[in-house]
C-alpha cells in the first residue's frame, strides 16, 4: 500500500513586509485524514501561516517567497474571485473567535445556508434540511431553534459549534482550525474536541490546527510542528516530539506547561522572543537557549532530518525527555489564619424586560480561611462565582450576607463589606492583581508613576526616595530600573503583568488576590509569573488567593485548592490530594476533562 499523495503542500513559504518576515521558509505536506498541529507562542507567525493556506494575507503582509498548493493548484497570488470555489468548498476555516467571525445581523441558519448556496447544488428546501442536519452533527441541542438565533443569542461554546457547522457545510477535504477552543470551559472544550476527532476519523477530513495549548494539539493531531519567531524549529509525530523533544525550544516549551499529574512549578524560559526586525544572525533561539554554543550564534541551522520521520532545526539536536516540573519546595507549615470568610453570599439584581429586578445568587454560603504564607487556589468554570468571591474580599462586590474578618498583628477585625468603609491599614493589607494588565495599568502613566501611587498612599515614602524604592520593587520582579521610565505600551504582556505584581507588593500587603493573572499570557511567561508569585509570597510571608479556570495552573502554585460550582465550594483540600484523589463527582469530571500532554 502506498502512502496517499499529499493534498496540501507548503514549500519554503515566506510572508512578511518591508525588512521583516513573519513566516520564514516553512514547508510541510498534509494528506487526507492527516492532522498537523502547529504550536508556538504569540508572535510566532502561526495564525499568519494558517490564513495563507487559504490564499489570504493579513493586512500589511505580502507573500515574499515559496508556495502553497492545494491538490496541485497554487493558492497564493490568486484573485479572491479565483479562490471562491476553493475557499469553503475544498478548504474551510474554523475561526479563532467565532463571536466576531459571524455576521452579527444574520441568523445562524442563514449564514450556514449561504455556504450551502455557494458550494452545493441543493435546492432551497434541501438546504434548509441540510442546515438542521449540520447543526445536529455538531451536537447543538434543538437545531431548529439554534438556526433561528442570532450569534449574540448563543453561548461561546454554541457559537463555536455553529462556526464548525458552517465550515463543514461545503464538505471540505481540509479543515483549518485557529485556536478552536480558546476561551471555552474545559468540559465544553473536551466535547468540542471529541466532535473534531470524530469528524477526522469518520470523514477523513485533513486538519491543520493552530494552538498555543499543547493539550489541544495532543488530543486532535498526529503530527506537530513547533514554530519560533516565524520559523519551524521542529516537526514530527506528536508523541515522540513532546516526550523526547529534539529542539531545545520544544523542550523548554513542554517544560513550561503546568501538569495536573505533577506537583511543583513549571519551568519558565528566560528572556523574550526576538523582535522580527532584529533577528539574531545565527539560531533565533540561541539568546535564550540553555545549551547554546558559539557556533549557534553565527550559523542558522536548517530544518534537517533527525530520524526518518522527524525534522529539527538545531546544530546539536538530541532527543532527551523534557524535564517535567521543578521539584516542589518544602511542605507548607500551617500558620495562623489571616483571613476568615464565613457563609459569604453574593447576589446581583437582574433586571428583566419590564424593569423588574430579581436577585440572582452568584455565591452561596461560602466559608473558608486562608493562613499566613499560604496560597489558596480557587478553581471553577465561568460563572462559578470565583471572581465574585475575590471581588467581595477586595470590597468591590456587596455581599448579601455572611462575614469576613482579617487578622493583622495578632488582632482580628471585621472586614467591612465595602472598600470605602475599610481602614487604610486594611486596604493596604489586601491587594488585587487583575487578569489583563493592558486594562489594569493606566496607559498614560510611566511605570514609575504607577508604582509611586501605592508607595505614597500607604508607605509614606519620601519623594526623594521614591525612585530608589520603585527600582527596588522592579528588581524583585526581575525588571531593570530602566523600565521605570517606560509606558505600559512599551512593555511585553509578561513585563506588564510583572509591573502589576510589583504595584501590588508596593503596598506591602498581607493578602494578595490574583484573578486569572496568567490567562492572557503565553505558557513560558505564565511559568515565570507563577514562580515569581510563589517566591515573593514565601519571601514576604504573604498569603494569596489564586483564582483560575485552569486546575493544572492552580495545582502548580497552590497549597490548598477549593473547587467551586454554581457559587458553592464542592471540595476543598491540599492541592496534591485534591488533584490525585478527588472525592467530589464534579471535581472528578473536571480533572477527567483536562487535556493531558504525553509524558
Amino acid at each position: 500500500m502506498t502512502a496517499p499523495s499529499p493534498r496540501l503542500m507548503v514549500e519554503n513559504l515566506q510572508i512578511g513586509g518591508a525588512g521583516f518576515l513573519v513566516v520564514d521558509r516553512v514547508s510541510f505536506t498534509l494528506g487526507p485524514g492527516e492532522s498537523l498541529g502547529i504550536a508556538g507562542e504569540s508572535g510566532s507567525g502561526k495564525s499568519t501561516l494558517l490564513l495563507s493556506l487559504m490564499g489570504m494575507m493579513r493586512q500589511g503582509l505580502l507573500h515574499v517567497g515559496g508556495s502553497v498548493r492545494l491538490d496541485g493548484r497554487p493558492m497564493l497570488g490568486q484573485s479572491d474571485a479565483a479562490l471562491e470555489p476553493v475557499r469553503g468548498g475544498k478548504i474551510a476555516l474554523v475561526p479563532q473567535n467565532p463571536a466576531t467571525a459571524l455576521n452579527p445581523s444574520r441568523r445562524i441558519g442563514a449564514q450556514i445556508d449561504e455556504a450551502l448556496q455557494l458550494h452545493s447544488t441543493l435546492t432551497r428546501i434541501d438546504r434548509a434540511a441540510r442546515v438542521l442536519d449540520l447543526l445536529g452533527r455538531v451536537r447543538l441541542p434543538e437545531p431548529a431553534i439554534a438556526a433561528r438565533r442570532f450569534p449574540h443569542e448563543l453561548s461561546g461554546g454554541q457559537v463555536q459549534r455553529a462556526a464548525i457547522a458552517m465550515a463543514l457545510a461545503g464538505e471540505p477535504d481540509m479543515l483549518l482550525l485557529d485556536e478552536p477552543t480558546t476561551g471555552l470551559d474545559v468540559t465544553t472544550q473536551a466535547a468540542l474536541l471529541d466532535l473534531l476527532v470524530d469528524l477526522r476519523h469518520r470523514d477523513r477530513v485533513g486538519m491543520v490546527c493552530v494552538s498555543h495549548d499543547l493539550g489541544v494539539l495532543a488530543r486532535l493531531c498526529d503530527r506537530i510542528a513547533v514554530m519560533y519567531a516565524g520559523a519551524m524549529v521542529e516537526e514530527g509525530p506528536l508523541v515522540p516530539v513532546l516526550t523526547h523533544p529534539g529542539h531545545p525550544y520544544t523542550r523548554a516549551l513542554v517544560a513550561s506547561i503546568p501538569r495536573i499529574g505533577a506537583a511543583g512549578l513549571p519551568l519558565p524560559i528566560d528572556g523574550n522572543p526576538p523582535s522580527l526586525f532584529h533577528l539574531p544572525t545565527g539560531c533565533r533561539f540561541a539568546p535564550r537557549c540553555a545549551l547554546v554554543q558559539d557556533a549557534c550564534r553565527t550559523t542558522r541551522p536548517d530544518l534537517e532530518l533527525l530520524d526518518p520521520d522527524r525534522k529539527v532545526a538545531c546544530l546539536r539536536p538530541m532527543t532527551i525527555p523534557a524535564p517535567v516540573t521543578r521539584p516542589s519546595d518544602a511542605a507548607f507549615a500551617i500558620g495562623a489564619p489571616i483571613l476568615a470568610v464565613k457563609d459569604l453570599s453574593v447576589g446581583y439584581a437582574q433586571q428583566n424586560m419590564f424593569g423588574k429586578t430579581t436577585p440572582r445568587q452568584v455565591v452561596e454560603a461560602v466559608s473558608f480561611t486562608v493562613q499566613k504564607g499560604e496560597v489558596l487556589g480557587l478553581v471553577g468554570e465561568s460563572g462559578s462565582g470565583k471572581s465574585t468571591i475575590l471581588r467581595a474580599i477586595a470590597g468591590l462586590a456587596h455581599p448579601g450576607s455572611g462575614s469576613m474578618s482579617l487578622t493583622r498583628d495578632g488582632e482580628t477585625r471585621v472586614l467591612a463589606a465595602s472598600s470605602t468603609e475599610r481602614s487604610l491599614a486594611q486596604l493596604r493589607s489586601i491587594q488585587l492583581i487583575f487578569q489583563n494588565p493592558d486594562a489594569s495599568l493606566n496607559p498614560r502613566h510611566r511605570v514609575l508613576d504607577l508604582l509611586a501611587q501605592p508607595l505614597l498612599l500607604y508607605g509614606k515614602v519620601a519623594r526623594s526616595q521614591l525612585r530608589a524604592k520603585a527600582a527596588g520593587l522592579l528588581a524583585e520582579v526581575r525588571l531593570g530600573a530602566a523600565t521605570l521610565d517606560r509606558m505600559p505600551a512599551q512593555l511585553s504582556g509578561g513585563e506588564r503583568q510583572r509591573v502589576a505584581i510589583a504595584r501590588a507588593f508596593a503596598a506591602e500587603p498581607d493578602l494578595l488576590l490574583c484573578d486569572e493573572i496568567t490567562t492572557a499570557l503565553d505558557v513560558s511567561v505564565q511559568a515565570a509569573v507563577l514562580e515569581l508569585i510563589r517566591e515573593l509570597a514565601r519571601k514576604h510571608d504573604v498569603a494569596a488567593i489564586f483564582v483560575s479556570h485552569d486546575l493544572a495552573v492552580v495545582r502548580a502554585i497552590a497549597d490548598r485548592i477549593a473547587v467551586l460550582r454554581s457559587g458553592r465550594i464542592v471540595e476543598i483540600g491540599p492541592a496534591g490530594d485534591l488533584c490525585e484523589r478527588p472525592v467530589d463527582d464534579y471535581t472528578q469530571s473536571l480533572i477527567a476533562s483536562i487535556l493531558r500532554i504525553p509524558a
Binding site: M54, M56, Q59, D80, A81, L83, E84, P85, V86, R87, G88, G89, A92, L93, P95, N97, T100, A101, L102, N103, P104, S105, R106, E114, A115, L118, H119, F150, H152, E153, M166, G170, M353, F354, G355
Partner: protein
C-alpha cells in the same frame, strides 16, 4: 424591549416639556411683553392694562404657562398679535410646506448619501473616494446661504432650468410646491448628504475590516454578495441615528434656505415672526421645531432598535 420602547417615548415627552418651559420663560425674561411690543411707543398705561387684561398677561407667569400649555394640549396655539388670527391657521399650511421640502430632501438625499458613502468606503483613498469625500467636505464647510445663492446662480441665472425664487403662495397645491422646492431641496441635499455619507463611509471601512467580512471571504462568498449581504446591512445600522440627527439639524438650515429662496414654509415664517416681534407666534414656531426635532430623533432611535438584532433581542 417594551421597557426600552416606553423609556424612549417617556424621555421624548420629558424633552418636549423642557423645550416648552424654556421657550415660554425665555420670552418671559425679555424686557417688555407682547402688549408693549404690539401697542408700540404711544401706548398709555390704561391701554397697556386693558391689553394685558384681554391677553391674560396680568396673571402670574406660572399660571399663564399652565394656561398656555393646557391650550396647546387642546390644539390651540394662541392668537397671533400682528396678524390677529389663530396661530394654528397660519402655521398649519407652512408646516405642510416645510414637510414637503423635508420629504423631497430626504427622498433624494438619503439614498444618494448611502450610495455614495458605500462607494467611497469600499475603496478608501481611491480616486472615487477622493472625489466624493472632497466634495462632501466642501459641502459641509460652505454655509447654506452661499451654496443656495450658488445654486440660484448656476441653475437659474446661467442654465435657466428653474426659477430662482419661489413665487407661489403658501396655500398652493402640494404638487406645485414639490416642483417649486427643487432648488431649495438641492441646497439642503448638498449638506445633508455630505454629513451622512461621511458617516456611512467610516462605517463601511470599519465593517470591511471586521472578522466576519474576512470570514465571508474565507467561505468563498463573492465580492458583490459580501458587500450586499455582509457589509451594507451592518454598516447602515449606525447610520440610522446619524440620519435622524442630521434631518433634525437640517431645521436650522431650513430657516435660512427658505429665506434665500422665498419658500413659503415654517422657517421663513419664523424669520417674519421675529422681524414683526410677534411673540406668541415665535413661541409657537419654536415649540413646533422642538417637536419635529424630538420626533425625528425618536423615530430614528426606534428604527435602529427595530433593525438591529443585538438591540432587539437580548440573551437570557
Amino acid at each position: 424591549m417594551i421597557a426600552v420602547l416606553l423609556e424612549r417615548i417617556g424621555l421624548a415627552l420629558v424633552t418636549l416639556l423642557i423645550i416648552a418651559v424654556t421657550v415660554f420663560f425665555a420670552l418671559e425674561l425679555m424686557p417688555g411683553d407682547a402688549c408693549t411690543v404690539h401697542l408700540g411707543r404711544g401706548a398709555t398705561d390704561t391701554m397697556l392694562a386693558a391689553c394685558r387684561a384681554r391677553m391674560g398677561l396680568d396673571q402670574p407667569p406660572l399660571w399663564r404657562f399652565a394656561a398656555w400649555a393646557g391650550d396647546i394640549l387642546h390644539g390651540d396655539l394662541g392668537v397671533s398679535m400682528q396678524r390677529e388670527r389663530p396661530i394654528v391657521d397660519i402655521v398649519g399650511w407652512r408646516l405642510r410646506n416645510t414637510l414637503i421640502l423635508a420629504a423631497v430632501t430626504a427622498t433624494i438625499g438619503i439614498p444618494l448619501a448611502l450610495g455614495l458613502g458605500v462607494l467611497a468606503g469600499l475603496k478608501p483613498d481611491g480616486p472615487l473616494d477622493m472625489a466624493i469625500s472632497g466634495i462632501a467636505i466642501f459641502a459641509m464647510t460652505v454655509p447654506e446661504f452661499i451654496s443656495g445663492t450658488l445654486m440660484i446662480l448656476v441653475f437659474s441665472v446661467i442654465l435657466g432650468w428653474a426659477a430662482g425664487v419661489v413665487t407661489i403662495g403658501y396655500k398652493a397645491p402640494a404638487l406645485d410646491l414639490v416642483r417649486a422646492s427643487m432648488l431649495p431641496a438641492a441646497t439642503l441635499v448638498f449638506i445633508l448628504a455630505a454629513h451622512i455619507l461621511r458617516m456611512v463611509r467610516a462605517s463601511v471601512i470599519e465593517v470591511m475590516q471586521s472578522d466576519f467580512v474576512q470570514m465571508a471571504r474565507l467561505k468563498g462568498v463573492p465580492q458583490r454578495r459580501i458587500i450586499w449581504h455582509h457589509v451594507v446591512p451592518n454598516a447602515l445600522l449606525p447610520a440610522i441615528s446619524v440620519i435622524g440627527l442630521t434631518m433634525a439639524w437640517l431645521l436650522g438650515g431650513v430657516v435660512i434656505v427658505e429665506s434665500v429662496f422665498n419658500y413659503p414654509g415654517l422657517g421663513r415664517l419664523a424669520v417674519d415672526a421675529v422681524a414683526d416681534q410677534d411673540l406668541p407666534l415665535v413661541q409657537a414656531i419654536a415649540l413646533l421645531f422642538g417637536l419635529i426635532y424630538v420626533l425625528t430623533n425618536l423615530g430614528a432611535d426606534l428604527l435602529a432598535l427595530a433593525l438591529n438584532p443585538r438591540l432587539r433581542t437580548r440573551r437570557g
